[in-house]
């Protein structure tokens, strides 16, 4: 088959995000079945490092490196991406279900008049190149297998940690530089400023391990013990709506129906009762640990391991035990 499988290689400050490598690894697997080439689509400004990091993961890198792409807006990306997508007609275009992916892909798909499956938790491909996307509906109470009409590309955004990065790939991608199409007059919005979140921790949607506390932690300053636990595990700290509404934590760290869905390898919940609105956000986490003083807390219904106990006792002890064990 001639048409290629493309992955939108999302970068932040010149660094390609992990989900893009996850998707390229999956695309390389798919390509073995369908005999298609794998292309990475990279836009931004000052991208030498990004190109280098992508080289083993793709057959081709479609690159637009231009000052007008220094900060992301859907307008400037769409203007630049649409023409060469139309020209090359890839059969698949995948992206991470990140804030950028969820912003860009629906609009781009509408523009290209093609099908788009958002926020997927699984993808397979048939030998004829037909993509089958698995996505949660109703917050994960049911799942749907979604297929696409004849229009191409078949577009999907996929959650972090759905696929593993294959670090053994040894491709050496050919770089295809594309001139920028940015027409300043056509740009409809501009970025005035960026406020980086405090700390250097990964977003909870990206982290492989998320540790979270809810109202059971009683006061905002007590999150310090959560931060300490997170540091040992290289984890990010999540929370419930209850603490966000109290003003104890930032909305960006809220897990659940009105917050974020996470797909961590390990999720640990402390002092979280397990309201449906919360647990809908953790349905695709691999292993779940719950600690709560109430033996009847609903959270235990959604956990793999549970401890009935006081988080103020358990969390510091767990931090110490992990420090000891992980050093060995």
């Amino acid at each position: 088959m001639s048409n290629e499988i493309w992955v939108f290689a999302e970068q932040q400050e010149g660094k390609v995000r992990k989900v893009s490598f996850e998707l390229l690894s999956a695309a390389v697997d798919f390509s073995k079945k369908t005999n298609q080439a794998v292309g990475a689509v990279l836009l931004g400004n000052g991208l030498q490092q990004a190109v280098k990091s992508l080289t083993p993961y793709a057959d081709k890198i479609y690159l637009i490196d231009d000052p007008s792409l220094a900060s992301y807006t859907s307008d400037v990306y769409l203007i630049n991406m649409a023409p060469f997508i139309k020209e090359h007609q890839p059969s698949v275009l995948l992206g991470g279900a990140t804030s950028t992916g969820k912003d860009l892909f629906p609009r781009l798909a509408m523009h290209l008049q093609t099908g788009y499956a958002p926020d997927c938790t699984g993808l397979t491909i048939e030998e004829n190149g037909k993509l089958v996307a698995k996505r949660p509906l109703y917050g994960g109470k049911v799942f749907a297998e979604v297929v696409f009409s004849e229009a191409r590309p078949q577009m999907a955004t996929v959650r972090n940690n759905t696929f593993l990065v294959n670090e053994n790939l040894k491709k050496s991608a050919q770089v295809i530089s594309i001139p920028s199409h940015t027409d300043p007059a056509a740009l409809k919005k501009k970025v005035v400023g960026l406020e980086k979140g405090a700390g250097t921790k990964l977003d909870i949607t990206e982290a492989e391990i998320v540790v979270a506390a809810g109202r059971g932690i009683k006061a905002p300053e007590n999150f310090k013990i959560m931060e300490e636990l997170a540091d040992v595990l290289n984890a990010s700290v999540g929370t419930t709506r209850a603490t966000v509404d109290e003003g104890w934590r930032d909305l960006k760290d809220q897990i659940g129906k009105s917050g974020k869905n996470i797909s961590a390898k390990l999720y640990m919940a402390f002092g979280i009762s397990g309201a449906i609105h919360h647990v809908l956000g953790i349905g695709t986490c691999k292993t779940v640990v719950a600690v709560d003083t109430d033996p009847n807390a609903l959270i235990f219904n959604y956990a793999d391991y549970g401890i009935v106990g006081d988080l103020f006792q358990i969390v510091p002890a767990l931090t110490e035990e992990l420090k000891k064990v992980l050093k060995e």
């Binding site: 912003d103 609009r107 509408m110 788009y116 109703y138 749907a144 409809k188 919005k189 406020e195 719950a290």
Partner: protein
């Protein structure tokens, strides 16, 4: 200011949803106005209070109009239901097409359109951006802050991005999808709820929009559900029953040796 709000009635997050067959779901009859759409309605009402004008709530649905009634109860001036048998089986892009066509029809131009971040049934987050694309107007996704300069026809918004916030500005007309944090939707007074129950809802069909059946509905769908699946089942919870601090040691051991994740 002419403000439109796109609203949808969806199953409450507490409603039971189960797979009935490969092609059918069983949904408990427990609906509410999409959480994010109430935030969108509130955003519209706040602007009208400041700048004057009109707020219209708009839905595409053949049966459920309670989201429109909720909008009226909260204070919206007008409610429009786009309804037509040919709309059955529409995907999000077809819904967007119907909405955008209606918005384009109006003789009176719109200044602002608000939608929710996502509908709590399909969890797609597609209709807002798709409507903006069809109308060719700026849009910003997932906003938690909004400042409108009416005379200048300019808006400044805050958008949540992974690991931070972004401040963007754009000109009007524009479309924004609303996220928790933007405001706290008002709870309508009982009197207004009663009034809304009786309020007249204008119906618009495809013919009035100048759309034909092939442009929407199942045939036009760009994606299709081939099969519904139940969620993957988690094995029953393993409660660690030892006393503190042995339970902590056991947990770490299980995570290392059984789950093999740390």
């Amino acid at each position: 200011m002419e403000i439109y709000v796109l609203v949808k009635q969806v199953p409450d997050p507490e409603a039971i949803v189960k797979v009935k067959s490969d092609s059918e779901l069983e949904i408990e009859n427990k609906y509410f106005t999409n959480f994010f759409d109430e935030i969108a309605i509130e955003a519209g009402l706040k602007l009208r209070e400041k700048f004057g004008g009109k707020v219209t709530v708009l839905t595409v649905d053949n049966k459920k109009v309670d989201a429109l009634r909720r909008g009226i109860a909260m204070g919206a001036d007008d409610a429009i239901q786009i309804t037509d048998p040919a709309l059955e089986g529409s995907d999000q892009f077809a819904i967007a097409k119907a909405l955008a066509t209606y918005l384009n029809l109006k003789d009176k131009p719109f200044d602002l359109i608000f939608a929710g971040r996502q509908a709590m049934d399909d969890d797609a987050g597609m209709v807002g951006p798709a409507v903006a694309e069809l109308l060719g107007i700026p849009y910003v996704n997932v906003i938690t802050g909004l400042e409108v300069d009416d005379p200048k026809k300019e808006v400044k918004v805050i958008r949540e991005v992974d690991g931070g916030k972004e401040i963007l500005s754009c000109s009007l007309p524009a479309l924004f999808t609303c996220q928790k944090g933007l405001n706290n939707p008002r709870i309508p007074q009982v009197m207004n709820v009663m009034k809304a129950m009786k309020a007249q809802i204008k119906k618009v069909d495809l013919a009035a929009l100048g759309l034909n059946a092939e442009e929407v509905g199942g045939k036009a769908a760009k994606i299709k559900v081939q099969k519904y699946l139940p969620p993957p089942k988690r094995p029953p919870v393993k409660m660690i029953k030892e006393d503190f601090p042995e339970n902590v040691k056991t947990l770490v051991k299980l995570l290392r040796e059984e789950a093999k994740i740390i």
